[in-house]
Subunit: 191 residues, 2 copies
Amino acid sequence: MKNLENRIVEDGIVLENNILDVDSFLNHQIDPVLMQDIGKEFARLFRDEDITKVLTVESSGIAPAVFTGLYLEVPVVFARKNKSVTLRDNVYVTDVYSYTKETTTEMSASKLFLSNQDKVLIIDDFLANGQAVSGLLALCRQAGASVAGVGIVIEKSFQKGRILLEGSGIRLESLARIEKMDPDSITFINH
Amino acid sequence: MKNLENRIVEDGIVLENNILDVDSFLNHQIDPVLMQDIGKEFARLFRDEDITKVLTVESSGIAPAVFTGLYLEVPVVFARKNKSVTLRDNVYVTDVYSYTKETTTEMSASKLFLSNQDKVLIIDDFLANGQAVSGLLALCRQAGASVAGVGIVIEKSFQKGRILLEGSGIRLESLARIEKMDPDSITFINH
């Protein structure tokens, strides 16, 4: 997605440990117009998949997911990293390891909103080592839901997330695929 | 907002400790069409205020805030409850006490995205005792930003949040105002 790639080049900041700081439009400040474009593009890509639900994880996945749900005309569920006061029992739970934070956290979703009747589109802001997406896939597996595919805003293609997902045969659509990056330049894989 | 009130009556579940569970359309599963309506309504109410930025807090504030930002044509910033890997220094920080969770957490926002040039609209999902909104106001105060008002999706009018805010002279617009609630019925304050 060209306007997304341009925005990453313009406003992204490459930090140490393979971290790409896009706090100015995705991870802290959000550009709603760009999120709308992203949602439209995911909806276009997965339009024929009979999606019944969009699944993401708090917090940065919510904005792209909610526009995807709007244009696919289906509800959005965001998995919780921290258990909320209303979400105590009756949940699917899985552990997710974060390489960037070097911590393991629980990810959970209510059994009320994800079932074996669902065909799920998973949306997330980043694909790096694939841990967050693997966690979301685990929640779908526990629910017996089928997964139509995974939509990623920014893929760091030099990390192992894509290989991990391709190995499982799941359709993966990333709107920007970073081949390599350093503080001076960011190179994308052309579609 | 009538369709919001109807949805609360239809799908809201009143729990102990004055907690209203609206996980089915706002706090865990999200109805994107309802969020779009909510964003349009906040944008209509604050259209003449020359807002430069919408400020909310993760996670449940993000969906209503991002549609508000879309229709006001301004960026959205979501304050962090947990410090992210890209948000380490150069932040405004304040403590926020949660009555429902009985814990104090830090809330932070980057100095890069909130300044004394901003006129801020604060958006949040719930107003109960006003602690989260007070935290967001504290971040604006630290930034020297002016606050045009506060937009709340669901106000529990029997708790002290509104009184707290009215005392500070800040414009408050709540789309649904709950006068009282128990497991059998929810009563709204008519506009």
